[in-house]
Structure formats: structure tokens, C-alpha cells
Amino acid sequence: MVQQTFEGEVLTEPVVVEREFETVDMNINIGPQHPATHGVFRMVLTVDGEIVKDAIPYIGYMHRGGEKLSENLDYRGALGYQDRTDYLAAFNSEWVYVNAVERLAGIEIPERAEYVRLILAEFNRLLSHFMFMGAFGTDVGYFGTAFTWTFKERERIQDLFEAVCGDRIMYNYFRVGGLAWEPHETFIEDSHWVLDQVEVGITDVDELMTNNEVFVARCRDVGAMTADEAISFGVTGPMLRASGVPFDLRVDEPYSIYDRFHWEIPVGERGDVYDRYLVRLEEMRQSVTILRQALDQMPTSGPIEPERMPARLRPPPGEIYMRQENPRGEYGIYMVSDGTDKPWRVKMRSPCFHNLSSLKPQVINAYLADAVVALGSIDIVLCEVDR
């Protein structure tokens, strides 16, 4: 049976082995539009009965040429693209870009702006991990319970963001050198209230999923990846920590003011889907502790941007690879400046891109249901994969 894919690429006829009980391989399209792909991503699985024999991932549907466009906008103009790459953790992406430009131009950031940035970034990590819990619950089979429970918490955090910067997803609030404007007066009290609700939310999700026998049966020993395999694929973030490597940029290469707080890094040991879930769950609790400490230490008054900022930013020629710990892994901006007012080259190192490349070995010889669960556990955001 010759099957023609829409690019005109002809898939070879599945080989029919003349043994009487041999079932015939089937090419299944976990296509661009599929509930399991969390976005526009296509995976052609060659399935023998229920076992996946071969998986060919196709990406590039969301490629918008972010890097090329950033090269033709001045340093402040390209900030908008950072929100749109990883739209589940827009503050973190913005923070990396803004830090890179400040480091290039040698601009010092006032203390208060640093604290507000860190607090908003950690809240964004919570937001992103809640999104993972909801989406992953639906992949595993919770008809909608995990989704609605986690979105109840996400609403609270997004209301806080809306109060601070007027937007729920594409914030565009950080500026080179500081913040766009002052956070509202009751920022700290609101944050504390939101944190209390979030802690309740985390325990709810924990009780719903962690010790549920069926959940354990579906997630344990699925898509397991050893530490070396993960490192070789360039996997970073919760997936790498789930494989037992305690590599967290906030600790290994501390940036901004992370060295003023104490928290722990959760590390799994088998690197399978269940460990990834546990690592992310524990990471949410650790983010809450960081936020508590940051909110207490935050100076309540002070400037939020340096006194003298050049009108047209012309950083001296040079290059920088600024990397920070996004909820999905190490998000890096490799920025080269040539002395003019436009960056010469901006390369966005997206964690999902490399985490996704490690999907194939996890899926081969697994069940079709495991392939979907493994894909869900990578927590991909397709806009960030294709940039």
C-alpha cells in the first residue's frame, strides 16, 4: 500500500513478512492537529499492532524567522519576539534577552528592579508547571479534572500579572535597564495571597495524581532516559534533573540575585515520565519558597531603572551567550553586536528544541499510548521549538 504524504514524499510500502501470524505495520499520523501534540507538531509512527516501530518527527510548522527579524530591529525592538517564543514563560524569556543586552551595553540594574524581575520570573515558572500538570493529566487520561484544577490556580497568578503589567500572557514588561513602570502598591501583599492559594493548588494536584495507582502504572518506566543519553541530546531542565543530574543554572551558573536565596533542587533517579512529573511538582514547591524569601527581602522603594539611559542603544562590538533556567530548561541568547544600533546576530537556544530531539529513542518499541505520554512529559511549546 503506497502512502503519499502531503509533501509528496512517498513512504515505502510496509514490508509484509509472509508469516501466518505476522500483523502488518501501519503508518499512523500523530498529525499536526492532534490532541496529544500540544501545538503544531507531526509525528509519523510506524505501528505494528500497538508497538511503535519507528517515529519520524516533523517540526517547522511554527517557524517565523524570529532570529532574522530580531537582526533587523534595534536592541529594544526585538523584545516582543521573546514573549512569543516561549509564551508559557514569557517573563523568563524576556529576562534572558534583557540581561544579554544589559551585559553587552554594560548597564547596571537597580536592586528593586532585579527583585521584581526575579519574583515575576518565578511566578511564571509556577504558571508554566501548572500548565504542564493540566496538559499532562489530559494526556494520561484525566478527562479534564487536572486541567480545570490547575487552571484555577493559573487564573490567580495571571490576575496578579494583569495587575502588574496589564497582560496575562504576552507581558512585554521588562525593559533594557529595568522595568517599564512601577509595580502597583499592593504588589507584595497580592503576591503573598496568590502564593497561599498556589500552595493549596499544588497539594490538590499532588493528591490527585502522585499516588494514583493507575497514574503510576501509566507513567513509571515509560520513556526512561539515562543521564548520559540525556546530556548527549542536550536535554536540560526538569527532564535532565529527572535523569539524576543535579544541573540547575540558578545554582551551577548563578545569575541575577539567585545566590541570596536557599532552596533545594529535586533530582529524580530513573529519568522516566513519573520522575519528570515528580521533579516538576517538587520544583513548584521550591519556587514557592524562593518567592517567599524574595518577597520578604524585596526593597519597598527605590528606582526601577538607571538614571541615565542612552536614547539609541549602541553596545560596543562584542558577543555574549546569556543563559538562564527557564521552566523547560536552559534558554540562552547568543547575541553578537557590531557597534551599530541593531544586533548583528541573535541566536535563541530553546530548551524544547533539544528536549524534543530526544523523543525518538523514548518512543521506539514502546506502546502507542506510551509514545503520547512520553511526548506529553517533555512539556514542549512548539513556538519555542521552531522560533
Binding site: 500500500m1 509484509v16 501470524f21 505476522e22 500483523t23 502488518v24 499492532g49 508497538i51 518499541n365
Partner: protein, 172 residues
Amino acid sequence: MEDGVTATQVVFWILAVVMLISAIGVVTVGNIVYAALFFIASLAGVAGIYLILTVEFIALVQLLIYGSAVVILILFALMLTRARERPQALFGRSRPLGIAAALGLLAALIGGIVATTWTTPESSSAIQPVGLQAIGDAIFTIWIVPFIIVGVLLSIALDGAIMLASPDEDDN
């Protein structure tokens, strides 16, 4: 018994026609899945005949065993393998051999029917419905030996099936 046409006879003839058509259908229809569906229809017809003979237990067991389990296995096998694409060799080389065997079987059947003396019960209402208890006692007292033999046969068949299936499973 009034000699007119009783309800059971009417139902019997309907069922007989249905069974005949589906039996022929099983053999002649090209598409193998249609053959399986016709097979179900014929088995349901057999169950209907049992019902007319007011032997519900056999009828329901027939439905239970054949209707759901055996047919599903056949459909199961058909769906996984590519059997349904290749047209069956209805008119292959072995056609004369097939016809000869069929005719032989037909002759044997007709011979058997003619030879037996059909005793028609005095009246259809005379057949007392056989209670569950009676069937149970019969199985475990009079027919205990064949019951055990069938049990052993089935378990052997089950082991055979597992043996056949397992070699494929050893790779993953």
C-alpha cells in the same frame, strides 16, 4: 394439535430461510468481513431454532459462546492482518476438488436425514421446559466423563494458542 399453521411453524420457516441465505452468503460473498457477518446471522438463526424448541439454556449459551466470543475472535484476526485486501481464491485451481467434496458431504447428509425416523411429539405443548436444576444434575452426574474430556481438550487448545503467540512476543 390443530392442523393449521401454528405460530412456531411460521417462525421456524422464517428462521430457516434466514439461516439458509446467510449460510450461502458466508460461502459466496467476496468480502471476507461480510462472510463473518453472515456467519453471525446464521449462528443467531441456530439460537432462534433452539428457542422454538423451548430449550432456552442451549440457545443462550449458543448466543453467548458463538455470538460474542468466537465471532469476535474471527473479526479480530481479520482486522489485524491484511486478509481483507486480497480477494479470496473462490474460483482457483482447486475448484473441482472443492465441488466434489461438497457433493460428497451433501450426499452423506441427505442419507442421514432419510435414514432417521423423525418422531414428532404428540403436541408441541407437551415438551416440558427443562429447568436449570435438571440440566445441572445431568451434566455433573450422567455426562461427567465427556464434560471432563472437553475441559482437558480446551485447556490443551489454550496452551497451544499461547505457544503460537509467544514466539512473537520474545523480541520486546
